[in-house]
Subunit: 447 residues, 2 copies
């Protein structure tokens, strides 16, 4: 008998997962709440640009679809920090040649849907809202948002890849007994700003870097697009005494704010006040739940672990869910009870660590990226790591350039930070001797 | 024009609140998901007995309905602890005459619905499920579970008093932007056990006390009913090496467990293994959310702050929501925008403190109530408080026998505990001199 799987959501993770399942011999049906984004001029949802890194590429390449995404991805080899004087500081992300890759969410989503149909042989049904799921029986209840027609479908296994506001999680999982759940919106919101190409169609900033204007409690970032523009995003508290979205309620205030706080950006985009309303003000949430799988139904990607975007691991962690589930599927010979049992146990721990990492990097980007002490610490770590790669991989590299489980990376990262705090405090002239044998020996001593 | 209010849920809080609103000149419509519990032989939901204390009585008496509840309430003046030898230790709850009152949930709920109709002039519609709410417009969407008929209704203000699994919160509030929410199920479940009256119809235990069999990681409690029986409840982890519900999977194991762990209880109820399945195994959750009010709609009671039952404050805090909202309604002259703004600010803080208190008392009842040191500390506190009532009100009394806001009580309680820890550690012979001037002076010194 044919093995059948239903996936709720034709987003990034659902599309990729369909390829894995198709290759494993399953017939794949996808139900998607929206219209086909490839045919209509609609947004694939609010989003800053995405940064693909090692975990994402691994999951794509394992089923041979990485190269299709490489065509639309732009490598960023480091961060460039912009201070209020317009001075730039460069910080490489990893070793020579290591990069994270900027992709537009709309572009990658359309491409992934092509891939789902071509490589995943998936039949995608649009405008189908999931109203409920019988988690244990694997029955999905649907309502067509255009015709109003209700229907149901049944499969051997059901995967919910329907995003942060997952209908499967809200309508079925959350009402199950002993399902722990939290959605926590952080105090900061974000607004996208499109920095256009210059009059020659060229990039106004170095396209090989992610740009950050760190300003303490708020920041602006920019990621390159293929057409010469940058998708920039301002992260800032919704409310507050000053430097809050609520206070930027007139063109004059917006202009003043950018002139004073981001002068080099303002020079590139003097029409910022006019463009301010082009994108909505959006919110950011951390969502945690447990378990991720009940009966024949499992959550994947944002539906299981929607996070804040500050480590650039949202898409990558969702793609890695495919790697993990695929490995478990093979290990347990497609016994889904056992697959889901182990998924609930081990992958959930990585999901929790992902959240901790994302919040941590939010503080790093906001508060520390402009701090000379922090930059020096990172320089020492990088130097030590180059000399002792087997003894020390910086946390950012573990997360972005390795497949070490998030939970392990986070534990190691916390230990490393404790060591570095001691090292930084052990030498009064650390600025001068940062690359000395003395400092190196101290680290070796503390490891 | 007549002022109209809709209440979702004809439970304890919704029924009481209808009386307040009716007296304030509102026409009150209540939509209730279930049938009329007074006409059918159905349960009002799973629940241990409830303990009414000062906050609850205040809210009932303010609108003149306390005496109707007093008729069905049994005073409990203290705790009686049962050890494994059957030895009893008595600990009064407060000063002479202070008591908390045992009521059955079914009984008090039926009585409150009578009161809603009689004193609240409320029209209660049954079998009406709330499918959604337009929070800002005050429009409620309903579906009749018997006829399938859908309808809507609109009011000046809408209150959701529809319990821990609130439809208003799940279907409307939770999907609002920036609504923070968490539901956390604790590791322990509970099972009710009815300890019947003896063959003469008399109580088998002192009916003027709440009985506790504390056993470290788990416990049994008993509250008196009007008919000579006690509603007992076993709290215990679901899973575990031993002493977990999962392990009590045969009559033999249940008998062994009770014989060994609760011998005096077993002697009163040797048929425990047969009665084991009379009530389901149930779970316990702590729910937090923010904000409690959006637009014209506010959550009250369990829908806003469902808690674990260990401080006996679930119903009392819900009733106190009526006191608070009524005071705010008068203060702001029925300007509901201002009422809800202040409710979101101040009452939410009390809701958080209520959760902290409930979890704290869970540990007290489970781990400390049988600890001689803890009992001595409480005796010293009680003694000191009698001599200096203006300087020291024990935490339990603040919560159960006062109307001090929960947030204030919790802060004071934490300070008191820190003082007592110092006092207990300051005298090696504290057992002998617990009521001495020396100890008293030490406390006075630390306050």
């Amino acid at each position: 008998m044919e093995k059948k799987v239903i996936i709720i959501g034709a987003g990034l993770v659902g599309s990729l997962w369909s390829v894995y399942l198709s290759k494993a011999g399953y017939s794949v049906t996808i139900y998607e709440r929206r219209s086909d984004i490839r045919k209509a001029d609609i947004s694939a949802g609010k989003s800053i640009n995405l940064a693909l890194s090692t975990r994402g590429w691994k999951a794509l390449d394992a089923v041979g679809v990485g190269d299709e995404i490489r065509k639309i991805a732009i490598p960023m080899y480091g961060r460039i920090m912009h201070d209020t004087e317009g001075n730039l500081t460069h910080q490489p992300y990893g070793k020579d040649g290591q990069a994270i890759y900027s992709v537009s969410r709309g572009g990658v989503n359309a491409k992934m849907m092509d891939i789902a149909e071509k490589h995943g042989k998936a039949k995608i049904h649009y405008k189908e809202e999931c109203t409920n799921v019988d988690l244990k029986k694997g029955i999905v209840y649907l309502k067509n948002s255009e015709t109003g027609k209700v229907s149901e479908d049944k499969a051997d296994v059901v995967f919910a890849a329907d995003g942060a506001f997952s209908a499967v999680r809200y309508n079925a999982m959350q009402k199950s007994t002993r399902f722990n759940y939290s959605q926590h919106f952080i105090a900061d919101g974000y607004r996208e700003i499109l920095l256009p190409a210059d009059s020659n169609g060229d990039y106004q900033l170095d396209k090989s870097s992610l740009h950050i204007w760190p300003r303490g409690r708020f920041m602006l970032i920019g990621l390159p697009n293929e057409d010469g523009s940058f998708t920039c995003t301002l992260f800032m508290p919704f409310e507050g005494e000053k430097n809050a979205f609520d206070n930027l309620d007139s063109k004059e205030k917006i202009n003043d704010f950018f002139k004073t706080t981001f002068p080099d950006f303002y020079n590139m985009m003097p029409n910022i006040a006019e463009a301010w309303g082009d994108h909505p003000l959006s919110s950011l949430a951390i969502m945690r739940c447990k378990p991720w799988a009940i009966g024949k139904t499992a959550l994947m990607g944002d539906s299981a672990h929607a996070t804040v975007p500050f480590y650039g691991q949202g898409m990558n962690s969702g793609f890695e869910d495919c790697t993990v589930l695929s490995d478990l599927m093979k290990k347990h010979n497609e016994n889904w009870d056992l697959v889901f049992e182990e998924y609930n146990e081990t992958r959930k721990a990585d999901g929790d660590a992902l959240q901790d990492l994302s919040v941590h990097n939010y503080h790093v980007m906001r508060d520390y990226v402009a701090d000379p002490n922090f930059l020096l610490q990172k320089k020492i770590e990088g130097h030590f790591s180059e000399n002792h790669p087997e003894k020390w991989m910086p946390l950012y590299s573990q997360v972005s350039f390795s497949n070490i489980p998030y939970s392990e990376a986070w534990q190691v990262g916390k230990k490393q930070d404790a060591i570095m705090k001691k090292v930084m405090g052990s030498f009064s002239n650390i600025e001068d001797i940062w690359d000395s044998k003395e400092v190196e020996d101290k680290i070796l001593d503390l490891i």
